[in-house]
Amino acid sequence: MSEDSSWMLELHCRFGKWFLVLFLVFDVFVLAIKTINYHGTYEVLSIICDWVTLICFIGIMPSASFPSELAKVKATGQPFVDRLFSADPQVQWESVNDMRNLTAGNRRQKANFIVVGAIPRLVYIIQQEDCMDELRRDCITLLTSLAKGGNGNVTSLCDYGACDAVISILLSSQTNSVVLAAVRFLRTILMTVAHQHHKHRKTVTIESFILDKFEDEKLISRLVEILEFGNTSLKISSLEIIAKVASSKSKCLVIELVGIKLLEVLLKLLDRNDEPRLVAAGTRAMATLLEQSRVGRTFIYVSSGTNKIQNVMEKVLTNYRVKPTITYDANAPDFVRANAAQCLVTILSIEYRQQLSRNVCNVLSELCDPEKDPEIRIQTASSLTKLLRNRVYLQNHAFYSNRLPKKIEKFFQRPPAVDSSDVHSVQTFTKELNFFPRLRSAAFDLLAVLLSEDESLRDALLVHSCGSERSLLHVNWLMSRLSEGLNEHQDPANPESRALLISSLRCLRSISRSNRHLRTSLVDGDIYQIIVKLYEESRNDEEILSQIIPVVGNFLVDFCPYKDDFVGLVTDDFVENIKTGNKFIDHTLSALINMTYSGTLSNRYKDEVSSSISHEEFLELVQKYSSNESVIEKLGTLLRNLIHDNVIYVKSDSQDCLMEIFRQMLINLPITEVAVVQFLHAVINFSDHCEGVSKLCKDPDLLTYLIDLMTTGTEIVKTQIVVLVNNLLRNSDEAFPFRQRLLVDLGVLKAVDLLKNSSNHKINDAVKKIYSRLDEV
């Protein structure tokens, strides 16, 4: 709101909305009379101008009005706000304290005071330079109380500049109690919004709007200063603010500016402090900071490797291993351990140590116990997910030694019904129920990692008991949980049910990496039908696509009983995707490779692809992606699969595009080793057909280059070339003597001589054959 409108604002605050409404009615009335009695053209212009102004004004009105939930409130707080306008600070102070007593814990009263315009007046009061410290402190406390009434209240507070005002007070004030009130206010603003975050998407915008205000080096260094000198409660609040700012990807850079100082202060604080709630906040902040890659790297660089942080964290873990005999905050020690373990997980991702990682794994598994607080279980499950990713040894350790599957099973258990008259069990029940979707998605993520690599773990978890093999979870049980998770996305705006869907897709992806389970578990669980439906519904949903494409890619492998259904469903989309080259190209290419891979003799899946991508288009694709390593490798593999056992594909290449691709990829472009191998495979497959052989022999340049590779290439390339030469030297038609001569002229014999004594029996085999086939020359 601009400066000019401040008198309006003041009137508005005093008389509420009625003033504005009266003003508008009056204005409309006057203008209407003017319009009726107009005289000349000049006056017409002036009247039109007035109307435009008025309409604009009415248009602005709603933007200055209150969020809808506040609009319904009956305004009864007027007398209190009136007293805020008193000239006597004592009266103001009394009024503030009366208001505090009314608003504490009472949403209705909070809304009431906001509607009658308390916020702008309070902001005005705290901004005055001669404001008493006590008054200022209590005003800020009142504002904090108002903020604890939901997002609507926070939005109003920000609209009226309360946030900026409090920040500037925090930076300038030297009075302890005022600073404490200010820090608490800022913390409340951040936490209230973050708390709602999981439930509603729209709050994300408010959150980033508020975070913008914290992107201020001065503010952050002030908070770090408080960490050093403040009392416990101040420290905890400022740590919470820092952690919150650090958790935002776009805003965390501001922390880097004070990173070194912050790290030093944090380590000192954690090293000697034994107040569990402070240590919990400190480790939380540390964990968040380490996870932000840039800030984290600065941290680790500064502390000369990870040793210092690691030592402190290990010490914290040991100190809190035995539950200290404190009763006032039973979960604090668990939170401390969860946070410290999370820090160590991040450190381990940079520098892996087996013993340490096993210890951390034990701690985290213990914190996954069903009797722990659901928040802790979610946090530790996601740390475990990170720790176990790609580490098969640890996966086995967690699976068997820590009995993780049984614990994960409990993540899916609805909280048991409780005696409704026992307040505390009702409280626990409600909390568990609120966290239920998030618990399940954390469990799916963890399962996704556990089942991603080791087939014996998948079998241990999913295969029916037979003989001594016993499945840990009943296969039907997991499949029903999966289909529940996949079906639970009725509300696309609810991030929780969406996260659950994404996590179940991840878990499904891991299970679908197994031939056996493609054929059995997923069939029994009716998963395929769900995925067909889900794919059809989410063709335009990038977030879901990013997870569902790999799953479908696995379903396109020959072993999947439902391959045909998915070929029909996705081929056109995927081909289109590759031609336009959007961000899923890596996965869609892999999916097409899987689709065209065949153990059977049928070429119908290859035809599906080759009929939509002509040879010319393939050439264009290869040229287009020549600088993208992984795409070019996959294009090579796709070509290899397309040519394999597929005479028609080779014959129909009237423009010799395939030869052009080989020339460009192998001779002209410096492509990666993997890509070379794949394209060589394509050439070998090409040479398996007579047409291919004759085309290759028409290009002595390419052949010379390939024969050179026989001496310069790696072991696998050498093997490939001798197999290729063998293919070229089959006595299949009348051009055979010509080919013999051509290859000898190109120096095959000399190259082969060098490979004569290879230890590789494949090469030896092929070399012998080459000799015999060249015998007649």
Binding site: K249, K386, R389, N390, V392, D445, A448, V449, S452, E453, D454, E455, S456, D459, G467, S468, R506, S510, R513, N515, R516, R519, T520, V523, D524, E542, E543, S546, P550, V551, G553, N554, V557, D558, F559, S590, I593, N594, T596, Y597, G599, E633, K634, T637, R640, I643, H644, V674, V677, Q678, H681, I684, S687, D688, I716, T719, Q720, N726, N760, K762
Partner: protein
Amino acid sequence: MPCFDDEMNLCLEDSFKPPHGPLDSNIYPGACYKGQQKSQKNTYNIEVKIDDINWAHSNVCGSLRIRGLTEKNPMIETFFTGEIIGKKYSFLTRKWDVDFTKDQLHWSKFEEFKCFKNTFNDDDFDHSKVQESPVLFMRWKEQFCLPDHRIKDIEGASYEGFYYVALTKETGDIRGYYYAKDSEPDQLLTLQLEKKNSSSAFQFL
């Protein structure tokens, strides 16, 4: 704009670069073997196809077709999973109702096992030696019928037991002995690799 969790990319192995392919070993995804299984009275034609091999975890799986085993079903196809003997899976089976003597009896039928015969039960048995052997030792266990895994019983046929298998690395020839508690001992499986000059590839995502 939703942000995608790149770390969740589960692909660990370099894509489409299996450490052993058709060019440097004689067992690879897509490899086909043909041959016979001989019992005292009968000989059946067998075809084995390898679906997938995971060298990192020493697992193999595929399908096994047997012709003429029963009159009602001229061809029966089963899905089998296999363990490659090495660091992860020992010569000692420790399941499927067999003990040390059964293991020793069957493995000893392979000439190449002779050098491990006296030591394979030792606690400090050096499994890296097994890798250097000219053959690849495996255990294949049939799991369920194809194409419908829900069929539990086939009249006159059973796949309760498992095969002790040895694959000669240089040629791709396979010998195997079927063992099941109540069935005829010493049923010999012999298979030869069908050589190919062309190949294709896939990779789970």
